[in-house]
């Protein structure tokens, strides 16, 4: 079987598996998995930039929050219905990624990480500053009555799960396809050796810029979906912690693998969920995981699988 056929089957299998799970899982895990799929979409967006293009951003929470607030504010104050509001959310994140991309891509390495961190911090502070509308740390709730699409109630657990699955599979299939075509190959080339890619005649800046745009927009879509599906919009989602989470999920699941973000998000979510049962210091687990991963398993779970057993893994 050719690698592309194998990866097609793998992605189809993952999506089918998630579809079947929603009828077999208990209510509690079904709710969790819906949340994880939205967060994994966020991680997929992060992975486009970090895993495939090799640019480590410490500020992706700004795109997630831009999507979330774009949708939330449009619904709350613009009185929009969910679908156009969702588009506003993605558009907000896309515009922000254009600005950040143009400015931050002038720097490389550590400076890029700090610039993204600082931009995200400014976005977080701006959200707090305009607390009258954004409700700052407290956040605001999108009422159930507003969360209806085509007569379907997005607060219904099953519909919410399927909506999350739709979002996740679109992001998964789009990025998987992207990595098979020439554009994605050039991104990987940029990650492996930027100078050589430049010398071969590729426009490195344009590719990196598009990677920021795609990554930011997917993250924004995840943020908008999170606000819509779980009905809450708040400044916490713009904080540094939410910039670190996708890094953690992607590192754990395997940077530069298509299903790594999902694997990482599932593992981390349940690890933190489990540990918060007996301690309120659950971020300790995240901290330990980060240190151990970077010390001993840089490739992450799916990266190890690819190295040992399945070199074809996309």
């Amino acid at each position: 079987m050719s690698p592309s056929a194998r990866s097609f089957l793998l992605h189809l299998g993952v999506i089918a598996g998630l579809f079947v799970l929603c009828f077999t899982l208990s209510d509690y895990h079904q709710g969790n998995l819906a949340r994880i799929m939205v967060l994994a979409t966020y991680a997929i967006g992060y992975n486009v930039l970090f895993g495939y293009t090799g640019l480590l951003s410490l500020g992706h929470a700004m795109f997630f929050a831009a999507g979330m607030y774009g949708l939330g504010l449009a619904m709350q104050y613009g009185g929009m219905s969910p679908v156009p509001a969702f588009a506003v959310g993605i558009l907000t994140a896309a515009v922000l990624s254009v600005v950040v991309g143009v400015l931050a891509l002038r720097t490389i390495g550590v400076a890029f990480m700090i610039v993204t961190l600082m931009f995200a911090q400014s976005v977080f502070l701006i959200i707090l500053y305009f607390g009258t509308w954004t409700r700052g740390d407290e956040g605001f709730v999108i009422p159930q009555a507003a969360r209806q699409v085509l007569g379907m109630d997005l607060t219904d657990p099953l519909i919410r799960y399927l909506a999350a699955l739709l979002l996740f599979s679109s992001a998964l299939l789009i990025t998987a396809r992207m990595m098979q075509v020439r554009f994605g190959r050039v991104l990987i080339a940029v990650r492996e050796n930027e100078e050589r890619t430049q010398m071969l005649g590729y426009d490195v800046f344009r590719h990196k810029f598009l990677a920021v745009l795609i990554s930011g927009s997917i993250s924004g879509a995840a943020g908008a979906a999170y606000g819509l599906l779980f009905g809450y919009v708040g400044a916490t989602f713009a904080s540094v912690q939410y910039s670190i989470f996708p890094l953690l999920w992607v590192l754990l699941g395997g940077a530069g693998t298509t299903i790594g973000p999902l694997v990482g998000a599932v593992f981390m979510f349940y690890l933190i969920d489990y540990s918060s049962g007996f301690t309120n210091a659950y971020m300790l687990i995240a901290g330990l995981a980060l240190v151990l991963l970077v010390l001993f398993a840089r490739a992450g779970i799916m990266g190890e699988v690819r190295r040992r057993w399945a070199p074809w893994l996309p």
Partner: protein, 308 residues
């Protein structure tokens, strides 16, 4: 209060902030300059200093001055040891790879913060200042009979705040002398200039790295001990000094210690003044945006040299 006295008050508050910020940022700048490591956990060493100061001060039942003196000695030493341990266990094994160390220090940040939450608890706790006399400040006003001196209501500072400014100044000057005059200072500068050459001259670079990392953390902890009688100790208190130190180090020029101190005074004072007249959040927004733009358009900062 009139604008003039108000401004004087804001300037004094700003100077206290600037003094503490200069020490904290100096630690971050030192670590980045010598080791090329961006220590994201720097704010947590600051927090550790404050928390240890509280433990030490509350263990001593004598006059608050004794507790404070003990904290001044113990807290920086503790922070330094923890930092050296982190360097040996984690950073050294990553061969000081810039990106990997950032991720690792983020991990260390959460480990330290959450450990403080589990041991110190979520409350904010005060440490008693060793002395705290209120000093009213005079103001000149031009009246009918020429200039006359009077003491406007509310315009005052405390002896402890003046002590903080003086102590920070003393440390900064002695650190500059230590760096330029002592043998270890020379070794640090040599390592900063050229790691390989330093190694061939028999300088134990890895040990220097450990000590520098410890020293940077100790500076942050010392700054925290100074501030903790004014602000309370809290397990999340490391975030603001970290952010401000980042801003200062970048605006001053990565790796330039002189630039760091100048920028700390600039940012600390303006942060204090903007916070009094406008809003603290606005001050921070302006500062973070400024730093991002400095990095983008003038990566060498105010005093730094162009990267080789």
């Amino acid at each position: 209060m009139e604008f003039g006295p108000h401004l004087l008050l804001a300037t004094l508050e700003g100077a206290v902030g600037a003094a503490v910020l200069a020490l904290t940022a100096l630690g971050l700048s030192l670590v980045f300059g010598v080791m090329r490591v961006v220590n994201v956990a720097h704010g947590e060493f600051y927090m550790l200093g404050a928390v240890v100061a509280w433990f030490v001060a509350s263990a001593m039942s004598a006059h608050p001055a004794f507790g404070f003196m003990a904290a001044v000695l113990i807290a920086p030493a503790m922070a330094g040891l923890v930092a050296i341990l982190a360097d040996r266990l984690v950073l050294k094994r990553l061969h000081y790879d810039p990106e990997a160390t950032i991720v690792a220090t983020i991990g260390i940040l959460y480990i330290m913060q959450q450990t403080a939450l589990m041991t110190f608890g979520p409350e904010a706790r005060p440490v008693a200042p060793p002395f705290n006399t209120r000093i009213p400040l005079p103001w000149l006003e031009y009246g009918e009979n020429g200039f006359n001196l009077f003491y406007p209501w509310g315009l005052s500072t405390t002896s402890y705040k003046l002590f903080v400014i003086a102590a920070a100044a003393v440390i900064l000057v002695s650190f500059a002398l230590f760096l330029s005059r002592s043998r270890f200072g020379l070794i640090m500068r040599a390592t900063q200039l050229d790691r390989e050459t330093a190694l061939t001259f028999g300088i134990p670079v890895e040990r220097v790295y450990s000590l520098v990392f410890g020293l940077g953390a100790a500076l942050a902890a010392f700054a925290a001990v100074l501030i903790v009688p004014i602000q309370q100790a809290h397990y999340l208190m490391g975030a603001d000094p970290l952010l401000l130190s980042f801003i200062v180090v970048i605006i001053g020029g990565l790796g330039s210690l002189r630039g760091t101190v100048v920028a700390a005074l600039l940012i600390g004072m303006s942060d204090g003044i903007i916070s009094v007249f406008f809003s603290p959040t606005l001050a921070k927004i302006l500062a973070t945006l400024l730093v991002a733009l400095v990095l983008v358009f003038r990566p060498q900062g105010l005093y730094g040299k162009k990267r080789a």
